[in-house]
Amino acid sequence: MRKKIVPSNWMLMIHILRLYKDVNQLIQLMGHDGKDGEVRAILKKIIGRLKVLNILGSNIPWYFLTFLPLDLLISSNDRFDKPRVLKRALLSLRNSLEKMIVGRISYKFLRRKEAYMNFRNPVSSLCVPSSFDEFIPGYVYIPGRKPVLLTASHAAPPASDINTELLSRRVAMRSGAHALISRIPRLYIDPNRLVGRVLPFRRKLDELINTRKIRLIIDLHSMEKRNSNMVEIGIWFGLSTTSSYVEKLIEFFERNNISYEISYRYLGGDIIFYHANKPRINAIQLEISNDIKGRSLRLLSRTLISYVNVVGDINRRGKSC
C-alpha cells in the first residue's frame, strides 16, 4: 500500500490561503481591459502554487477532489474560453477554497464534519455497486419556472425519508419551483453522500443550477422526533447560504407557528456542502419531523409554498433576497 504523506495543517493552510488570494485577485482583474500582463503573471503564480500543493502530500489530490466542483474538473479546457463560463468557474473555485480554509480553522464540529466528508481514497469512497447502469437515470424531474429547486434525495424506499416526496411534489406543483426526486434507494447508493456526486441525480442537479439559473436549493429530509421541533434547518454553520434566505424562512415559520431550530445536529449533507460552492447558490436542508401528518403537514407545505413564491419572485426580478 502506498504510504500517505500528510502535510501539517499549517503548511497546507498557508498554501491554500495564498492560492485563494491569487484566485481572488484574478477574478478582480478579469474584465478589465489592458491588464493582460498582470493577469498572465497571476496565472503563472497560481500554476506555481498548485504545483507546490501537488507535491505537498499524496492525499492532497483527494482533498481537492472533496471540495472542487466536478464541472470544473471533467469539462474540456475549451469550454472555459467563454469569459462568462470562466468567471463562474473561478468563482466556484474561490468558494471551494474558502470552504477549505474555514473548514480547517473553524469550529471543531466543522472539522469533524469535514473529516467525515473527506475522500480517503476514491477506490473506497467513490465506488459504485455492480450493474451501475441500472441506476441511470434514477430520478424524477418536475420542471418549474422559479429559480428554486426542491430535492428529495432519500425519497426511494426502503429506509426512505417520510413525506419528502409528497412535500416536494406538492410545493413544486403549487409554487412553480423545480423538483428533483431520487429513485435510488439510499441502501444502494446514497445520493446525499460523497459517492452520490457521480450519480445522474446529482449531475442533473448541477445541470439545473447551470441552465435554469437556480438560486436556492431546498433539500428535504425527515428525522425522528426528538423534541417539539417540527423542522430543523441545516445551513453548514452559515456557509451554505446567505443569512437573508434563512431569515425569510424563519419569518414564515414563525408566522405560521411552525416550531423550528437551526440545527447543529443536521448541518447538511453532501448536497448542501457541495452544490453551495457554486456562485450565487444558496442551499438549505430541512429535516422534517417524522410524526407530522394531516393538518400539520398541510400547514408546512402551505408555508413552504408561500416562502418559495416570495423568494422565487424576488430572484426572478433579478434582486437578491
Binding site: 500500500m1 502506498r2 493582460d36 493577469v39 498572465r40 496565472l43 503563472k44 497560481i46 500554476i47 498548485l50 504545483k51 500543493l53 501537488n54 499524496s58 492525499n59 492532497i60 489530490p61 483527494w62 481537492f64 477532489l65 472542487l68 466536478l70 470544473l72 474538473l73 471533467i74 469539462s75 474540456s76 479546457n77 469550454r79 472555459f80 474560453d81 470562466l86 473555485l93 480517503r120 481514497n121 476514491p122 477506490v123 473506497s124 469512497s125 467513490l126 465506488c127 459504485v128 455497486p129 455492480s130 450493474s131 451501475f132 447502469d133 441511470i136 437515470p137 426502503p158 429506509a159 439510499r186 441502501l187 444502494y188 457521480v198 445522474p200 449531475r203 442533473k204 445541470e207
Partner: protein, 486 residues
C-alpha cells in the same frame, strides 16, 4: 496456597468453573455486498419483534446480554452472558441466526468479517472480544493471582494466536501488506504489559483518557492501601489483552462485582463462522487452564524476550512468519503447533476437541484463501491509487454513452473521451449456515468514466492517453488560459 492439589490429573470440571463471554461485531450489507448504515433498521425490527412478542425473551435473556449498535451506523454487536463452553456456542448460534433472519426481512445482509475489503479504509473495523473467567468453584470470581497468571499466559502467546487468527489482509481494495490490517490500524489495541499485583494508595488513581494522563481521586483514609492487578500503569482498558474487574487498576471497573473479574482478549480478528470462534475460545480456555496449572505448581510465567517483535511479525506475515525464540528464529507454524499440543492436554480433560483447520495449525485465511481481486483494467486502478482519477481515454471499440437522462448515444471506435474514472464492484461471497456473509471470495472491478455528457463503461483494452489529478487538471486549465491570452 488455598488449594494444594495439582490440577493435572484431577477432576478439572468439578474443581474449576470456566465462564466465557463473547462480544462479536457484525456489519450490515446490502444485497450487492456494500456496507450500508442499516444497523438502526435491524435494531428497530428487533424492537418490533419484542413488542409483538415474536421473540422468546426468556430464552434469549439467559444467553445474550444484548444486541447493540456501535458508533458506526453499519455495525451491530452481539454480547453474550458469561456462559460455559456448551452454552456459549448455543448463544452465538441462536443470536447470529436471529439477527440474520431479522435482517433478511429488510433485505439486509449481515457480514461477519473484520474489515470490508473495499469500504474499510481502514475504518470501519470489527473485532471479536473474548472474556475468560476461570476460578475455583468455591469462590465467586477470579482472584488477583488467577487474573495475573491467565493474563500473562495468554499475553505470552499473542504472536501464536495472532498468527492463527489473522484474516484481514485486504482494505481499500488493495492488499495492505499485513495479514491482519485490523491490528495495524485499530486504535484500541495497544499492547499490554506483563501484569503484576501492585500495592498502592487508594486515594489517587492515575488514568488515561483520550491519550491524556489524568487522575481520579477516591476519598478514603489516606493510609488505606489496596492490591491491584496492573497490566497498564494508567489503567487503560483498550489493550490487546487485559485483566478486568474490581481487582484491577481500571477505573471503569472499580465498583464492579468480583463476579465479573475476567481476562479480555481483544486482539482476535473476527472468525468467519461459529466453528472457528468456538475453536479460538477453546484454545483460550486451554491457555487459561495451563496458567492455573502453573499457578498451582508455583511456576512463574516468564516474560518472553521478543514478544513485541514476534507480535509485529505475526501481524505482518501471519502463520508464515518466523518468530525469534531464545535468540534463534523459528517458523511461526512450529510455535503454533507446539502451543496447540500443550493446550490439547487441558482440552482433553474437558472433553473439547478442535473441529476446524485450527486443529492442525492452519488458519482460516490459509484454509479458504484471501479474496481474489480481478481488475478489468490494471492501468486505471494504478492511476486511481496515485490520485490521478481524471483520465483521457481512447476507446478501442464502439460504445454507448449514457446521458444523465438515461438516453444512449453511440461513440465510434477510437473516440477520445475525458472524465472522472470511478470503480464499479461486483462481489462473490460465501455464507455460513445462518446466511451470514462469512468471507468475500472474489472482487471483480470494472470502471466507468463520468464525462461532461454522460457515462461510458471502460473496457480492458481501452487506451489511457492522459491521467491527471484534480490539481493537475487545474494546472492544465490555467496553462490553457495563459496560452489563449497570448
Amino acid at each position: 496456597m488455598w488449594l494444594v492439589i495439582s490440577i493435572v490429573g484431577a477432576n478439572l470440571a468439578e474443581k474449576i468453573a470456566i465462564k466465557v463471554g463473547v462480544e462479536n461485531e457484525l456489519f450490515t450489507l446490502n444485497d450487492k455486498g456494500f456496507i450500508i448504515p442499516a444497523s438502526k433498521i435491524v435494531v428497530k425490527e428487533i424492537i418490533q419483534d419484542i413488542l409483538n412478542k415474536e421473540v422468546d425473551i426468556d430464552l434469549l435473556k439467559n444467553l445474550i446480554y444484548g444486541i447493540q449498535w456501535e458508533p458506526h451506523p453499519a455495525q451491530l454487536e452481539i454480547v453474550t452472558q458469561p456462559l460455559n463452553y456448551v452454552l456459549i456456542e448455543r448463544a452465538m448460534r441462536i443470536s447470529r441466526q436471529y439477527i440474520a433472519d431479522v435482517a433478511e426481512r429488510k433485505k439486509i445482509k449481515i457480514y461477519g468479517g473484520s474489515v470490508h475489503p473495499i469500504q474499510s479504509n481502514p475504518f470501519p473495523i470489527n473485532g471479536t472480544h473474548i472474556s475468560i473467567s476461570v476460578f475455583p468453584r468455591k469462590r465467586k470470581g477470579m482472584t488477583r493471582k488467577f487474573l495475573t497468571y491467565i493474563h500473562n499466559n495468554i499475553r505470552r502467546h499473542i504472536p501464536e494466536l495472532i498468527a492463527l487468527t489473522a484474516n484481514s489482509p485486504i482494505i481499500a481494495g488493495n492488499p495492505s501488506g499485513y495479514v491482519s490490517a485490523r491490528l495495524v490500524y485499530s486504535r484500541v489495541l495497544r499492547p499490554s504489559n506483563y501484569a503484576v499485583i501492585k500495592r498502592s494508595k487508594t486515594t489517587i488513581i492515575p488514568r488515561e483518557k483520550r491519550a491524556l494522563l489524568k487522575y481520579a481521586f477516591v476519598f478514603t483514609d489516606k493510609k488505606k492501601y489496596e492490591h491491584k492487578v496492573v497490566a497498564n500503569e494508567v489503567g487503560l482498558r483498550f489493550l490487546d489483552v487485559t485483566p478486568r474487574g474490581p481487582f484491577t487498576n481500571i477505573i471503569e471497573d472499580r465498583w464492579s462485582s468480583p463476579k465479573v473479574s475476567r481476562v479480555e482478549a481483544r486482539f482476535l480478528d473476527n472468525p468467519s463462522n461459529v466453528d472457528y470462534l468456538m475453536d479460538i475460545i477453546a484454545i483460550l480456555i486451554g491457555l487459561s487452564l495451563e496458567a492455573v496449572d502453573k499457578l498451582y505448581r508455583n511456576e512463574r510465567i516468564e516474560e518472553p524476550s521478543n514478544l513485541a517483535e514476534n507480535r509485529r511479525r505475526a501481524i505482518k506475515d501471519g502463520i508464515n512468519a518466523t518468530f525469534i525464540t531464545n535468540g534463534a528464529t523459528r517458523p511461526a507454524r512450529e510455535c503454533v503447533m507446539e502451543m496447540l499440543q500443550r493446550v490439547q492436554t487441558y482440552l482433553d480433560m474437558l472433553g473439547i476437541k478442535l473441529r476446524t483447520s485450527l486443529a492442525w495449525g492452519v488458519p482460516e485465511i490459509e484454509y479458504y484463501g484471501a479474496p481474489e481481486i480481478i481488475s478489468a483494467h490494471n492501468g486505471i486502478m494504478k492511476n486511481i491509487f496515485l490520485g490521478k482519477i481524471l483520465m483521457k481515454v481512447q476507446l478501442n471499440g464502439s460504445r454507448h454513452l449514457i446521458t444523465i437522462e438515461g438516453e444512449k448515444r453511440r461513440l465510434k471506435e477510437k473516440t477520445r473521451i475525458f472524465g472522472l474514472a470511478f470503480p464499479e464492484y461486483n462481489f462473490e461471497w460465501d455464507e455460513d449456515e445462518h446466511n451470514i456473509v462469512s468471507r468475500f471470495r472474489k472482487i471483480r472491478i470494472s470502471y466507468w468514466l463520468l464525462t461532461q455528457h454522460g457515462y461510458v463503461k471502460l473496457m480492458p483494452d481501452d487506451r489511457i492517453l492522459i491521467a491527471t489529478s484534480p490539481i493537475g487538471k487545474l494546472v492544465r486549465l490555467f496553462n490553457h488560459l495563459c496560452k489563449t491570452m497570448s
